[in-house]
Amino acid sequence: MNDRLKSLYQTVILTKAKDKKFVGQLESYTHSITAYNPLCGDKYELQIIVEDDVVKSLKYNGSGCSISKASTTVLCEKLEGCNAQQVLSGIAEFMEIVDSDASRNAEEITKNEELLAFAAAREFPERKSCADLSWKELQKQFNQLFPYHSKE
């Protein structure tokens, strides 16, 4: 197996893709976000409870490749318990990690190995849309989740 593939499909990604911790339905939730890539068919529904401007709980269900699945798991992991500001910076950080045009190396952005695993998307531009599928949709819907939070 070549190193390029190994870098994309690190143990982190393969493990997180199989991790069922955040897979399922919440009994009730304040927000539902659908992340969908019409070009490939990957589709996830994220169910989120936002209370007092904090992400209390998240679950997701749907289907997609191991990269989009792992990335959605990591999204849930990283953003659970975060307030609006932390969600915003968490998204920005992830987007920079997978961005091949970013000026910083991924290692300069974070030391977190679970996030760093997605930096391999920089080498596989055709898979970037898998890596940032759920993150991008969350970014789009940020104002719905936190209507009183100013991005400034």
């Binding site: 197996m1 070549n2 390029r4 593939l5 994309l8 499909y9 393969l14 070009l39 490939c40 068919g41 990957d42 589709k43 289907s63 997609g64 490749c65 191991s66 990269i67 596989f124 055709e126 898979r127 898998c130």
Partner: protein, 405 residues
Amino acid sequence: MNIKSIKSEFPIFRQKTPAGTDLIYLDSASSTQKPQSVIDSITEFYSSHYANTGRASYWPATESTRQVEQVRKNVQQFIGAKSETEVVFTSGTTDSINKLANSIFNSDLWKGRQIIVSEMEHHANLVPWQIEAERHGLNLVAIPLLDSGELDLVAYKELLEKPTALVAITAISNVLGTINDVNKICRLAKAVGAITFVDAAQLAPYAGVNVEYLCCDFLSFSGHKLYGPTGIGVLYGKQDLLNQLPPFAFGGGMITEVDIEGSSFRDSPFRHEAGTLNIAGIIGLGAAIDFVEEVGFETIQSHEDELTIDLLNRLADIEGLKILGEQDRRGPLISFTIDGLHPHDLSTYLNESGICVRAGHHCAQPLMKKYQIPASTRVSFGVYNDMNDVEQFIKALKGAYEFFL
């Protein structure tokens, strides 16, 4: 031309992939690679006698016009049309269908009738009809699929009991590979007075086309799936129908008389070919038709059938792998799913071995929904594939099993 050495006609296979491997191209149902003769025909045209076609009376315009009209004649023979006036150049099958749908359903004349497609249609042979149905008050219905991956022709006959304006059907499914009984489908449609359209995008490179045999009013195929260039396709239509239809587009070359107050239009094919044609594309299409005719469809078909059967047999032994469709008659393509291994992960893995396969919904979402799968992996063959390609694919597929599962 010997099929065993035909790969050497395609320059793309002379180089290595970025992964340092030979290129194993298994996505011809999406688009085929180009033989040297097609590439050369385009270079030659631009280098030696390029000019716009039409009324110019100077050389090289006379030569480019002659060549375009020669290709039109060649297409006529290639598809078995009665006259070259039945051959309209478009930019491809999608373009053909959009133009045709828009032209046929240009008024509310057909209101209350139905358009019949099938559940296995490519989006290109579904969405344009759907939109016209919405615009003009028609009802769009689909011939259901049987579990085998074949169309339910009993259900089709029942559908035809309602007033039907048009039946649009693919000759070969781009996902299942099913070869439809187009002749029967068109004859049944004709018996109730419906117009028939055949999407021959997958059929043309595999078995060629004969509009008489298929018994259709309209048919389309694309150059780029037939070893020809991108951006060129053909819409065949019966002459009287093409002359009755409102022009597909308006502009230069398609008019007889123009005044500020109004204009009148030429007969087919010029009626439907406004503006400057994709002349180089037409020349390239001509070379592509020469190429497939030189190889011969009997040879192409038996060669690709051999590869398809071999691959089917090998895939049958693989655990957790499910092939879509179990029909008897299959074109040169196979789609499958693997439990726990997503098509995109598989195709990224295969790419590292220089193997190109298609992963996704193949522009046929209704079909995917029918099978309750979000995506599948598709392997499809062209003339240049050989047993070694199948072997390398199987080897890499087994590697992917070890890696992911």
